[in-house]
């Protein structure tokens, strides 16, 4: 064979390559080594290139772990002191664990289903893997393993402090902590496998209706949450912590105690392991043996579900992949028509696009910014609504908060106490802010990096670079202020907040939306990552972590600046306060001055948090080379 530039033609190895298929164990080794090598390189690069980022992530994780641990520890101690009757105490903890694990199980089913949908059907490596002689089941399990890891690490991070806190509060023996890890790991496989089965089945049989299915799941989730919350809110004010109240609440949570629920097995197993060491009289098994039985049950079911998922992957995955990628794009629009009768079909089919076109036109005509900026905002809005990952997360989280706010008044214990009401209202404001900050970090911060990847397109258009950043800022602010303001308004309405405090809340909501958008856009432009294609990975990087930390700090400062003086002012007005009639020895006029000063300072802080990151971002973006 003539090689045009090689000095010497290489000698082909004498051995012929076998065309036999790899053995299952060779496949397992190959894919295991692939995962290990990728992980090792990622760690090595993380340790050598961005130690600060790693340190920040570690410290933040530890802080988060510590805060959850402290809250749970305090809660369990309170419970122990409030409920002296041991069987009732155990029953309550059992229900708390059961409900917590059940809620997490539902969330893990959905999150792993969505993750696997992206990984199995749109992953960049999938066409490559499916054309290798590896078995379809192995390719599927490789992705399943990645999804279990991705969807479960947060579960372990959030759950472990609660269970460790309970172990310490209950003075549990050493093997309780030892059994914790296998219980959590085995448990996380079950919802992941169910999510995988659901994802495969939907794409295999209803590839055209997957969005309708996702929407349906979200609606069912929201309806279920509303039903549970409604069931919990029947207690009368004044009933709090009475035996009748406890029994009534436990009765309503009875559905979480079904014997076939994996959450029940884990809850039972952990509670058994937490019992003090004692040797009961034969034939009663000791608690550790009971716990091991539940662990065996959980592990065997986890393995069974994983096996079923693997078999389904072998049978359905290739067909599902082919069916999804041979769907006609217009099919989705036709689904509404198929569901409705032919008479209404046309109108129904037209309705979504008519509304969306009207929104686009409205955005284009807004008297804000130059036309190119508005065009870019409309482009981003189109990308948002066509990306189910973005709008579904937005809908789920804001929907859950909406339902919580909607049912807040009957949930209150002492609604008439102004101090409580005021505190809850500002806490709600912080929750909305924190939720918003996760969205600006997850979706706005990476947008600049992703725009940079296709900068050749925007760079050739008659646009100024500043206009690209302004469009991102307007898009972020416009998209944040509406849900943020409406949620705060709902919370204030349900709590019966005074108009003055309501107005302060609205001002704070505007400041939050402005500042969080400014931080995300500014840092996104200052610290872009053009190598990465996945927005989730960009957000998980150092810049994204810094953005999240600064956003959280900003929320705490803004809310504290307005909340504390309002709180003391209200306490003065009504004479209701937890402390003394004169907090910190201040008079009413001092508090009023403090309140005005706090509002002024929060406005200044809001403007600074908007302008400074944007200025830094503009400066960096103008000089950036693509």
């Amino acid at each position: 064979m003539a090689i045009p530039w090689a000095i010497q033609e290489p000698a082909e190895p004498a051995t012929t390559v076998p065309l036999a298929l790899p053995t299952p164990s060779a496949e397992v080794r190959a894919f295991g080594q692939l995962r290990f090598r990728r992980f090792r390189w990622a760690m090595r690069m993380g340790l050598s290139g961005s130690r600060l980022r790693l340190a920040l992530i570690m410290v933040l994780s530890l802080v988060l772990w510590g805060v959850i641990f402290w809250l749970c520890w305090d809660g369990f101690l309170f419970l122990r002191s409030a409920v002296a009757h041991t069987p009732t105490h155990d029953q309550i903890v059992h229900h708390v664990f059961g409900m917590y694990l059940l809620a997490l199980m539902l969330m893990l089913i959905i999150s792993s289903g969505i993750l696997l949908y992206g990984m199995l059907f749109w992953g960049p490596d999938i066409p490559f893997l499916l054309t290798l002689p590896a078995s379809t089941e192995r390719v599927f399990l490789h992705k399943f393993q990645e999804a279990v890891w991705l969807s479960s690490w947060a579960f372990v991070l959030l759950s472990s402090p609660m269970f460790v806190a309970y172990g310490l509060a209950a003075d549990s023996p050493w093997y309780y902590y030892l059994l914790l890890a296998p219980f959590l790991v085995a448990f996380s496989y079950i919802p992941a496998a169910l999510g995988a089965l659901l994802c495969l089945a939907v794409v295999r049989w209803f590839p055209g209706a997957r969005m309708v299915f996702l929407l349906g799941v979200i609606l069912v989730l929201l309806a279920g949450t509303a039903w549970v919350v409604r069931g919990l809110t029947g207690a009368e004010p004044g009933d709090l912590l009475t035996p009748h109240w406890f029994q009534s609440i436990l009765q309503r949570l009875q559905f979480s105690q079904h014997r076939l629920l994996p959450s029940w097995w884990v809850s039972m197993g952990l509670l058994e392991a937490s019992q003090p060491r004692q040797v009961p009289a034969w034939p009663v098994r000791p608690p550790w043996a009971e716990s091991l039985l539940f662990l065996t049950l959980t592990i065997s079911n986890a393995l069974l579900f994983r096996q079923i998922a693997g078999w389904s992957g072998r049978s359905w995955y290739r067909t599902a992949y082919s069916r999804l990628h041979t769907q006609h794009r217009r099919r989705r629009q036709g689904l509404l028509a198929a569901l409705a009768g032919s008479a209404v079909a046309g109108r129904l089919k037209q309705l979504p696009s008519t509304v969306i076109r009207a929104v686009d036109r409205f955005l284009l005509r807004l008297p804000i910014g130059a036309r190119p900026i508005r065009l870019l905002v409309v482009k981003d809005f189109r990308l948002f609504r066509r990306d189910p990952l973005q709008w579904s997360q937005f809908l789920v989280f804001f929907g859950l908060v909406f339902f919580y706010f909607l049912h807040m008044r009957p949930f209150s214990y002492d609604i008439h106490h102004t101090t409580w009401v005021n505190m809850v209202s500002f806490l709600n404001l912080s929750v909305v802010g924190l939720l918003l900050s996760t969205f600006t970090t997850r979706f706005i911060f990476p947008a600049i990096s992703l725009e940079g990847r296709r900068f050749w397109l925007l760079g050739l258009l008659p646009l100024r670079r500043e206009q690209i950043l302004w469009s991102k800022f307007l898009y972020a602010f416009g998209g944040s202020i509406l849900p943020c303001s409406l949620l705060v308004l709902l919370s204030d309405w349900k709590l019966g907040i005074s108009p003055l405090i309501g107005a302060i809340h609205q001002l704070t909501a505007v400041l939050l939306a402005l500042g969080l958008s400014g931080i995300a856009v500014g840092l996104g432009a200052k610290m872009p990552n053009f190598r990465e294609t996945s927005p989730a990975r960009i957000a998980a990087g150092f810049g994204g972590t810094l953005c999240l930390v600064l956003s959280a700090l900003y929320i705490v400062l803004i809310v504290a600046l307005t909340a504390l003086p309002s709180h003391f002012w209200l306490a003065f007005q009504t004479g209701q306060t937890f402390w003394t009639p004169r907090p910190f020895g201040l008079w009413e006029k001092d508090i009023r001055f403090w309140m005005l000063g706090g509002i002024g300072a929060s406005i200044l802080l809001g403007l600074a948090a908007t302008a400074i990151p944007l200025r830094i971002g503009f400066h960096a973006f103008r000089r950036m080379e693509f």
Partner: protein, 279 residues
């Protein structure tokens, strides 16, 4: 080696491939030609097992692609139109993974990797992470990976995109050499000269239908080409005319002063005013 029988693939109502029957023997270089959207990539994706046919069957070395995708994959080396490499692996680690999945023992794998590294001149960068590679370097590693197991069938979708002239020459030589060894090469390309230069037979696909299959000599013998070039023949077959006429441009003038100022409000800024010439 390849046998397609009445293959049909639809995307909803759209027919991508219609009643395609084709047989390609071992030792042949077959070039698939066709305009964008003709169904070439869909056919290749069906051939390598990524998509399943709506009707008909595809066989590679006697194996049914739908029923035995693993056995088919072992016979094929596939270069897709958008090649993939793991960015957090070195080129060598990537090749080792391929070798493991293809069932090679470690000694065999090392020998084959060394041979391919020599052939494609990979030594300078094989132990670096692939996310540092240029497009051409990535393409060479991808070619090395698909030829690692010396497959009886090489399938390549637009194989020359992004390659420098040296690499193009190498790949062409490789294809000829493989055909000479009795192995089959199936390529899809827009580059008519490439097909003219190396293909034993050409298939012209248009709107999912195979309009012509045969060698250049057959075209001439049958009087199909007369004294036309392959390009003229191809355009005539796919457009219905030898010379595609560009559409009339709209007569309105497009303003070239669309660039707006630095301000968010679109007002002109100092930087948007053209510089004055010194007098």
């Amino acid at each position: 080696m390849i046998e397609l029988t009445h293959v049909r693939r639809t995307f909803g109502q759209t027919v991508a491939v219609e009643d395609l029957s084709l047989a390609i023997p071992p030792g042949e270089i077959f070039a698939f030609l066709g305009p964008n959207g003709a169904g070439k990539t869909t056919t290749i994706k069906m051939l390598v097992g990524l998509l399943q046919p709506s009707q008909g069957s595809l066989r590679v070395a006697g194996w049914d692609v739908v029923k035995h995708p693993q056995q088919v994959a072992q016979q094929i080396g596939y270069v897709p139109d958008e090649p993939f490499l793991y960015d957090k692996l070195t080129g060598r680690e990537f090749l080792e993974f391929i070798a493991q999945v293809r069932g090679m023992d470690p000694k065999q794998a090392q020998d084959r990797i060394a041979y391919q590294a020599e052939l494609f001149q990979l030594h300078g960068f094989l132990d670096q992470l692939t996310d540092t590679y240029s497009h051409g370097m990535k393409q060479r590693v991808v070619f090395a990976s698909v030829l690692l197991h010396d497959p009886p069938l090489l399938v390549a979708d637009e194989p020359m995109v992004g390659l420098d002239p040296k690499s193009v020459r190498l790949v062409k030589d490789l294809m000829r050499a493989r055909a000479a060894q009795g192995k089959t090469v199936f390529i899809s390309t827009h580059t008519l000269t490439l097909a003219e230069e190396i293909a034993d037979r050409i298939g012209i696909l248009h709107r999912g239908q195979l309009l012509f299959v045969g060698s250049l000599a057959q075209m001439r013998q049958q009087g199909l080409m007369q004294d036309k070039s392959l390009e003229e023949f191809f355009l005539e077959l796919t457009d219905g005319q030898g010379h595609a006429q560009p559409p009339h441009a709209p007569v309105e003038n497009i303003p070239l002063a669309a660039r707006e100022g630095a301000s968010i409000w679109g007002l002109p800024s100092a930087s948007s005013v053209p510089p004055q010439e010194d007098c």
